[in-house]
Subunit: 243 residues, 3 copies
C-alpha cells in the first residue's frame, strides 16, 4: 500500500520517522513530504495555504504517485481536503488523524477556539520567530498537545518542531466540490487529544460528522502520538487505511 503522510503545523516530514519505520517494515511505501512554509532553517513563513497545497501537489506529481492513501494530521487535514479536490482519481482513501475537516469558506483559525487566535496573533506580532511565524508557548505544547508525555519527551519534541506560517491557518479555503467526492474516508481520533479542547470545539464528533460515511478508529493518547506512541499509531493507520 502506498501511504502519503501530511504533517501538521510546527511539524515537517522528517518527524514522521518513528511512524514511517514500522509502516515500511510492514511492507508499505511511505511518503512524508514537507509542506512549503514548514521545516527548520531559512524557510519563508509568509506563505499562505495555497502555496502549502501546491507544494504537496508538486511532490505528488514529481513522484508520479497514484492509488495512494492520503493521511493528514491536524492542519494537514485542511491540506488533504484540497488535494482531494485537485486529484480525486489518484487517492484511494483519505485518512484524517485528529485533523481539521473544513467547509467551504472556513480557515483553521475560524474553527478553533478564539483564545488560540489571540495567542497566535500576539506571538507573530512579537516577531519572536521572524515574519509571519508562530510557535506555541511551551506550556501549551506540554499541557494540551503532549499531555500523555513525560516532561523530557515534551521538551525534546518541542525542540524538534519549528515555527509555522500563520497565514496558512488564517487563509479561508475554497472547497466547492469536496463534499460531493466519493473517495472513501477514515478518521483516527486519539481519545485524550485536547489540542482542540473538550466541549464544542473538540475534534470528535465535530469533524468526523462532516465526512458522512466515515470509518472511525480510536486509540489512547494526545495530539502527538507520533512522538508518544508511534508504534500504535502505525497500527491504527493500517486499520484506518487497509481497504
Amino acid at each position: 500500500m502506498k501511504i502519503v503522510l501530511v504533517h501538521g503545523a510546527w511539524h515537517d516530514g522528517t518527524l514522521w520517522q518513528e511512524v514511517a519505520d514500522p509502516l515500511r517494515a510492514a511492507g508499505h511505501e511511505v511518503h512524508t513530504p514537507t509542506l512549503a512554509g514548514n521545516g527548520p532553517g531559512d524557510v519563508d513563513r509568509m506563505i499562505g495555504h495555497a502555496e502549502a497545497v501546491q507544494s504537496a501537489v508538486d511532490y505528488l506529481n514529481q513522484n508520479e504517485l497514484s492509488d495512494f492513501v492520503l493521511l493528514g494530521h491536524s492542519y494537514g487535514g485542511s491540506i488533504i481536503s484540497k488535494l482531494a479536490e485537485a486529484m480525486p482519481d489518484r487517492i484511494r482513501r483519505l485518512v484524517y488523524w485528529n485533523a481539521f475537516v473544513l467547509m467551504d469558506g472556513e480557515s483553521v483559525e475560524s474553527v478553533s477556539p478564539p483564545p488560540y487566535k489571540d495567542m497566535m496573533d500576539g506571538i507573530v506580532a512579537s516577531g519572536a520567530y521572524g515574519p509571519g511565524a508562530v510557535k506555541l508557548p511551551f506550556p501549551v505544547w506540554r499541557e494540551a498537545f503532549m499531555n500523555d508525555a513525560s516532561l523530557e519527551l515534551a521538551q525534546k519534541s518541542y525542540e524538534m518542531t519549528t515555527p509555522h506560517p500563520l497565514k496558512t491557518l488564517t487563509d479561508r479555503l475554497e472547497l466547492k466540490t469536496f463534499y460531493d467526492l466519493q473517495i472513501p474516508r477514515s478518521y483516527i481520533n486519539c481519545t485524550e487529544d485536547i489540542a482542540m479542547p473538550p466541549g464544542d470545539f473538540a475534534w470528535v464528533p465535530r469533524f468526523p460528522a462532516r465526512l458522512g460515511l466515515c470509518r472511525l478508529v480510536q486509540m489512547p493518547g494526545g495530539h502527538e502520538v507520533c512522538f508518544t506512541n508511534p508504534g500504535l499509531l502505525a497500527e491504527k493507520i493500517i486499520e484506518a487505511a487497509r481497504d
Copy 2:
C-alpha cells in the same frame, strides 16, 4: 445465571454463537431466539414490530423462562423494552448493548439519522431482497458497522447476515408503562460504534440517559463486536449482568 440474547437487525439467533460459547463455558444458561422476520431462507419480511415481539414472548413462554437477564442488541433494544412491559416480573435485569431505548410513540427509524430512512426506503422499493426486506449496502456495513474489522471479516459477516423486515423499524411502539418499571438495567457501549454516527444521533449519551439509574459498561469496538471481539463482549455481558 440465565441469559436471553435478543439479536439486532440483519442478525438471527445463530450469530450469537461465538458470544454464547464462552458464556456457557462460564456456567451460564444462554438462550438465543431468532425473532420473527429474521434469519435465512423463506421468511416473511412483511411482518411488523408486534409480530417480532410476539415471537420472543412465545419463545420465553415455551421455554418457561423466568429470573433471566434479558439483553437486546441494536434493534433488539426495542424488543426487550416491550418484553419488559409484557413480563416485568420474570426479568432479572435488562441489558441494552448499543441498543435503541425508545420512548412511547417512537420507532427505530424515527430516532435514526434521516439518510438511513432514505437509503432503506430505496432498497425496499428496489425489491432487491423481496417484499418488505432491506439489507445494508456493503460499504455501509464495512465502514459504519465493521469499522474495527479486517475486510475479510467484514465480508464474511456480511454474508452471514440476512435481509430485515423494514416494517419492524418503522412501526411506532406503544410504551406506556416501561418508564415506570423498576427492573434494574445496564447499558453496554462499544466506544467505536458509529452505526449511530458521532454527534446528536450517537448511542451515548442519548439512550442510556433515558434509563435513569443504569449501569454503564464500555469496551472498545464497533457495532458488531459479536464478530470482531466476541470473547470480550461475553466478559462485558457478565459485568453488565452479574447482579
Copy 3:
C-alpha cells in the same frame, strides 16, 4: 513529590490507602487528611463547606506543607478550589479527579442533576443517619458509583463509607479569584464514571472545560477506582502531577 489527596463525599482520608501505598512506594510523600464532617464515629454532620475547607487549611498549616500537588476527588474538587484561593503560592499543581470545578456562587448540589437533590433531601429528612447526614442508597452506589465492581466489592466499599454532611454540598461557594490564578492544573477522568450521568451533567467536558489550559488524563473505570483499580489510579495521578 509531595501529594495531598482530598477525598470526596462519604469518604475519609483512610480510604486512600490502596492508592497512597503505591505512590509512597514510588518515593512520593502522600498526605490524606480527613475533612471536617467526614469519617466514622461521632462526627458533627451539621457543618458546612467553610468548616470543611478550614479543616484542610489547618491540616496543611500544621504540617507546614508547601510546593505540593493538591488533588481533589469529586466533592473534594470544591475544596481544592477554595484552598487554591487561600494559599496559591504553596500549591504546585491542582489535580481534579472526576471532581466538581465550581464557579463563584455555585454549590455541588446546584451543578448536579435535580433527582440527586430530591433524593438527598429525603434521606436527611428521614433522619436515618442523624442530623444533617446523608448516605446514598446502596443501589445508587452499586450502579452509578461502582458500576465497574463486583457486587462483593460494591458491598464492602459501601460499608467502609460513612454519612456525609449535606450542608457541604448545598452551601454556595465564593470563588472570586480562582479563575485568575495561574496554578497549573490537570483533570483525571474515568471513562465509565456515571456518578454524574451521561449527557449535560457529565463530568467531561463540563468541568475540565472550565479550567482553561488543563492537562487531561483518562483511565477506564467508574467513580471509585480508588477501590476498583487503585494501582492504575496511582499511575494516572503521577501522569497528571509529574511536572
